[in-house]
Symmetry: C2
Subunit: 412 residues, 2 copies
Amino acid sequence: MAIVVQKFGGTSVADAEKIRRAARRVIERKQAGYQVVVVASARGQQTDELVRDALELNPNPPQREMDQLLSTGEQQTVSLFAMALEAMGYKAISFTGGQIRMMTDGVYSKAQIKSIDADFVRRELNQDQVVIVAGFQGIDEFGNITTLGRGGSDTSAVALAAALKAEECEIFTDVDGVYTTDPRLFPNAVMLDEISYDEMLEMASLGAGVMHIRSVAFGKRYNVKIRVRNSGNDNPGTVITHEVPQMEGVLVSGATIQKDMAKISLIGVPNVPGMAAQVFTRLAEAKVVVNDIIQTEISPEKANIAFLVGTSDLPTARQVADDLQKELHCENVFVRDDIALVSVIGVGMRSHYGVAEKTFGALAKAKVNIDSITTSEIRISCAVGKDEVERALEAVCLAFELDKPARQRKPV
Amino acid sequence: MAIVVQKFGGTSVADAEKIRRAARRVIERKQAGYQVVVVASARGQQTDELVRDALELNPNPPQREMDQLLSTGEQQTVSLFAMALEAMGYKAISFTGGQIRMMTDGVYSKAQIKSIDADFVRRELNQDQVVIVAGFQGIDEFGNITTLGRGGSDTSAVALAAALKAEECEIFTDVDGVYTTDPRLFPNAVMLDEISYDEMLEMASLGAGVMHIRSVAFGKRYNVKIRVRNSGNDNPGTVITHEVPQMEGVLVSGATIQKDMAKISLIGVPNVPGMAAQVFTRLAEAKVVVNDIIQTEISPEKANIAFLVGTSDLPTARQVADDLQKELHCENVFVRDDIALVSVIGVGMRSHYGVAEKTFGALAKAKVNIDSITTSEIRISCAVGKDEVERALEAVCLAFELDKPARQRKPV
């Protein structure tokens, strides 16, 4: 019998009525002949409330105890979810991460899943039970409760779908699916019927908040068909899947922006091997997350190294840069703290030319000045002034026809 | 190193300030050289809130899911408690019932403890950790979470004290200790320095709400010294322990009342062997809890059988009695629904005469009419009209000098 995994986020189970609505989703699948595994998050603001309770007692709470505390939110949801299904006439049984032996490493607050007791879950499914699993949590080899970090319930769901070889992993959320870009910024954005894992990874890492990057990477690795859809309507949503040939016909699948960025430039760094490694090791040691790196040679002896960081990391990054300036005898350090990134993403870039030109042309036409450019195989990002980023996004969206479904766009 | 177990009820950990206050209790013991195990209940009204959430989704929630849900309340408290201790400079680690392998049978909502992994707890104590254990919960052999029912955290604490051979099990609550009687009813009641398990069991079963009967029975069985004390002050509280010779010098240790009782009398039951068994088997099948039984022979052929039940059980009990009347051809069924019980309790009764006479004399002097009388080896209970029970309690308290510490009373 085919298995489907359905994941419901905190807003989709925030109160009794929403839990019942989610339970009806399960019943639809049961009636269609599926075995159903549900993964649920903590209700609404429960996790935030627990964090507040913890900080009231300890401004720097031990991570183990934090995981022990936060895991209760999901445990509450799954037992309530099972009760709701029972009341609606369906057999249901809830489990914590530990109970299905969702084994993780011992890195509290951002543990990685190592294995799942899929046979245990299958036995329950074969008893006609809907199996409801607490997302976001596992246990380490000593029985300590661990949590998987931000977006962890998505990862739990995708991991379960992989372990059970589920036909599909449905991620229910409060948006209809994945859009070409954020509809709040570009109201004519259209929903994508499907998107490749790689494109979704670029979108996620650039701040499209629909799914956490780790769960998408997991899905890619284990080939899990993921469907992002709205828990409040019947829209089929967006399928995240392996790249299929027709995706290549689409030049750009989506565009994103990332605000609150800063750029630090080390000017006149000695142009010797290992210099970049030294700079970025120091930044990593200071726990600064570096987004993009731009290195340019300015003479045989000197180079400029620039990098983008979130503004929250700027004070630390600046300190590291100032230290490095002295140690490396750089000429100068420049900081620009009003940067934002606009990016276009599409697997079609791999086989088509002209995306960069079209992007730069659109920005030029919109009179947006480009500070710097970075690219990956399926992405082009331009750093622009933060006041210009919305205009920049609109310009690239119109240039790549992101207000139209892919099949209605002009052929590449 | 000596071990002490400290149990904090819901009101003693209701908010951050109270958790810190409880943590200071732990630190006092640590500083005095003890290894400390803490058992904590859910914070304040948390359990009631979870029950309400459950009933909103399912008026008759499956017990397994209910236990899965309710166990989160204690889990939250223990992790927060550990965080508080860490913030105060002490090493602390929290565990769920399952994590210390508090094994129970599989009877959800009123599971019985079968074993505890005391070695596991000892290893943590020997790492200089304060071990904080979620009360009220365990797991069955399949890893399902179970709860121990009302007063379950007391039982968890006493069981841990037994398994660890702790010097003492302190039960912190919101009263100073065990009183000769309820001070709200008899303001001159005095606190007892010590009380025997058997007396406490009689007190508990008659409604003195300080400790749950099961935890006292557990303490008696495994010889755990239990100290009931106030989490808000330094009063040494009441020690519950094995009977010591000097206890016998005290005629009556305490007095209790039980309101909301009813008496059903089957008049003219055939006086043949097995009749009482038949009556009480039928009541048990109907899940009626019978408090006291009074049987009297009225002729060689006929007897009267009367019994006391709580008024909540009266409709069911009455139905059973009516059915029995027809089947057994009894002459009549009488029901009195305005009964209350006043009881005096003391191990001293075993070796002294005159307690009954003194009790009846006191009630007669106070012009309280006695409906019926039942006794155990260390208890005398009189059923009286519910409007007279407070007056009856005062009369017996004064007669047995329960407004004075035992050593100041007139010698027996």
